[in-house]
């Protein structure tokens, strides 16, 4: 089966291409892509399906560095199937799935189960992480070599930081034998233990226990020293503070093999969104202040922050409708990833190509996936989107199983019109 996508604004961050053009898809792969391709509708080969993009943007499908899925163990919040529907609606054609399920993915048979289930997802490609330590308890490292052989894309304890410095040193050191990627949740668990939101004037006024901002920088500083010693591949998940951005910027200048990401809440929201005890804005790390938010934007603009991940974390209504301190942590993020990230473009902080690059070429490079590119021969994972179509996010109309969006009622610009995985259209937006 051959499909032609024409009359599009091609965005291919991997090659720096941003020009009118088209893409030729043969079977599951891209056969050709380029500026001016199929500009003339008359010259199309015969017997091919034609998608006229009507001037909309055509880019590689989004590669999500981090999403939590409720399966196994919390299927009432999200299953692999419902997550793939949400992913397709959000233009996410590949996602790395956190191992902090119930039970956690910390063994070869657990990984094989998840990988088998993931292959049933029709609408997105799911790559499982494995736990860095058994049970994500931070004490004993997992069988990292065997897990990698079985398909673990990288190693992380999800939203649990490895607190023990010796365990982290050994994990980083051991990982170098197999050239594995380790992904850390940067938060000193003891400093953060009692807190439920960012510490500061807002937490004081709300009477909520705060998480000091230093919790993030302290763990990153420690890890960077261990990375310098071991030379391990190290990735920092969801940086949220100005201090963290400064640390990563310096580490990169020093030549360390460190990458990091953030997620839309940290450049689009602040702790002020928690006032009125809004539990949908209870996230980990917590929403920070305006100074931090600006530093995250700057870090994205200058490339210190490599990627933008959805940080998708589905929670059902019952676990969110609680007093703030007791409410579950996390926000649904797959469907809102692109439109909220496009704020960075609309506000003039990043070019459109760079915003897309943070969600395609960059995460693919970090995870070493042959995705996130329009290069001939690459899998035909594509999105067609209109960066200017207004969309008022309405949690009640999200298609995922849990609708705990911290962006409920936010007015955004940008909508995914079509999502294509391996040449197959898996999502088609209704006409406006």
């Amino acid at each position: 089966m051959t499909t032609v996508f024409r009359n599009a604004r091609l965005l291919d961050p991997a090659s720096g291409l941003d020009a009118p053009g088209g893409v030729l898809v043969e079977g599951k792969r891209i056969a050709a892509a380029g500026a001016g391709l199929f500009a003339d509708a008359a010259g199309l080969p015969e017997g091919v399906a034609v998608v006229d993009c009507q001037g909309a943007c055509l880019a590689p499908g989004l590669v999500d560095l981090r999403a939590r899925i409720g399966e196994p163990g919390e299927e009432h919040k999200e299953t692999i199937e419902t997550a793939s529907i949400a992913a397709a609606a959000g233009g996410v054609t590949a996602l790395a799935m956190l191992p902090t399920t119930q039970p956690p993915v910390d063994s070869v048979h657990g990984l094989e189960f998840v990988a088998r289930r993931a292959r049933t997802a029709q609408r997105t490609k799911i790559f499982p992480y494995a736990c860095l330590t058994r049970g994500a308890a931070g004490e004993q490292i997992t069988e990292m070599g065997l897990l990698a052989e079985s398909g673990a894309i990288a190693f992380t304890d999800g939203n649990h930081a490895v607190a023990d410095s010796l365990v982290m040193l050994r994990a980083l050191s051991y990982a170098t034998a197999f050239d594995l990627l380790i992904c850390q949740h940067p938060e000193d668990p003891r400093l953060a233990a009692a807190g439920v939101m960012n510490e500061g004037e807002v937490s004081t006024r709300l009477g909520l226990p705060g998480i000091p901002r230093e919790a993030e920088a302290i763990l990153i500083e420690r890890d960077l020293r261990l990375v310098a010693r071991t030379g391990a591949r190290y990735h920092i998940a969801h940086v949220s503070t100005a201090d963290a951005v400064a640390l990563v910027r310096r580490a990169k200048a020093d030549g360390l093999k460190v990458t990091c990401d953030t997620s839309p809440p940290y450049f689009a929201l602040t702790e002020m969104d928690v006032t009125d005890y809004r539990t949908f804005a209870k996230l980990s790390p917590p929403l920070r202040n305006e100074m931090d938010r600006r530093a995250i934007v700057d870090g994205l603009a200058d490339g210190t922050i490599d990627a933008i991940a959805s940080d998708h974390d589905p929670q059902d209504t019952d676990s969110k409708r609680q007093p703030f301190a007791s409410a579950a942590i996390g926000g649904a993020g797959l469907e809102t990833l692109l439109p909220v990230a496009l704020d960075l473009y609309h506000n003039g902080h990043l070019s459109l190509l760079d915003v897309i690059g943070r969600m395609t070429a960059a995460p693919a490079r970090i995870l070493r996936l042959e995705l996130g590119t329009l290069a001939p021969g690459a899998p035909a994972d594509l999105i067609v989107f209109d960066p200017d179509r207004p969309w008022r996010i309405d949690a009640d109309t999200l298609v995922g199983k849990s609708r705990n969006s911290p962006f409920d009622r936010r007015l955004t610009s940008g909508k995914v019109l079509r999502t294509v995985v391996d040449g197959r259209t898996v999502h088609l937006a209704e006409s406006p």
Partner: protein, 319 residues
Amino acid sequence: MDTTTGFPHRHLLGIEGLSPADITWLLDRADGYVDQNRRRDKRTALLRGRTVMNLFFEASTRTSASFELAAKRLGADTINMPVAASSVKKGESLIDTATTLNAMHPDALIIRHPDAGAAHLLSQKVQAHVINAGDGAHEHPTQALLDALTLRRRLGRIAELDVAICGDVAHSRVARSNILLLQAMGAYVRVVAPPTLLPAAIERMGVEVFHDMKAGIAGADVVMILRLQLERMHGSFVPSTREYFHFFGLHDVALAAAKSDVVIMHPGPMNRGTEIDSGIADDTNRSVILDQVELGVAVRMAVLDALLGETELEMEAAP
């Protein structure tokens, strides 16, 4: 809505959001109830036929008794629901209980809960008027109102008073409500505590911060001592109660630094010998601690009156 009389709020969730006029209205109304409470027949029929539920997810003796008396003296039917936080998983029971109780058509729900924001959450789920009797470390508005009434009756005013709030401000809803109310009414507020018992950025609430008890209370008109909430101490906030009393307790040595006519307050229950010397607490020339308890009933009557009394009809007539 009629703005010349009454109280333009559906719930009392905190001092935040109340105007000086609202506060004055409540204090004026409470003054009248002080007299009623000293009469032989203390009961009126203002709230006859109304149902007031006490919903306490935290142990409390004086506040729940004070609210119950206040409702009874206004003629309402009252029921106490001592919901032990330990017996049910926090939060789940709050929503479940709220939904259940709502079906019984209470007119007012008085809630105390260990989590900040619990009263806000409840107010979104029920038709009844919600009165916050303390939510976590957030607010305890009726305590601040009764403290204000005590001061106004004793010193004739609140504006421009110099008030030192001493002790465990970090875990204290009483401190937050008092800071908000006293500042709204034009008082000057300082806080005196070791840094470990002060919440982050407390100076952003417009208070002056002291870590030295003598300096902190010198020149103050009022010294408000907070309970050292030992049950909330998850870490080592202070090394020992002995050291705490020595440096931050109100004893004769510290008190020598204060004005001779300083007014001493404590929201209770007191840890004698931990945050306040027993003799000072019982010195009725300076301590108004029992006045606070007495006026607490009057203030809670005023709050019930404000939310459930005659003004409610006007509120409900508004679109």
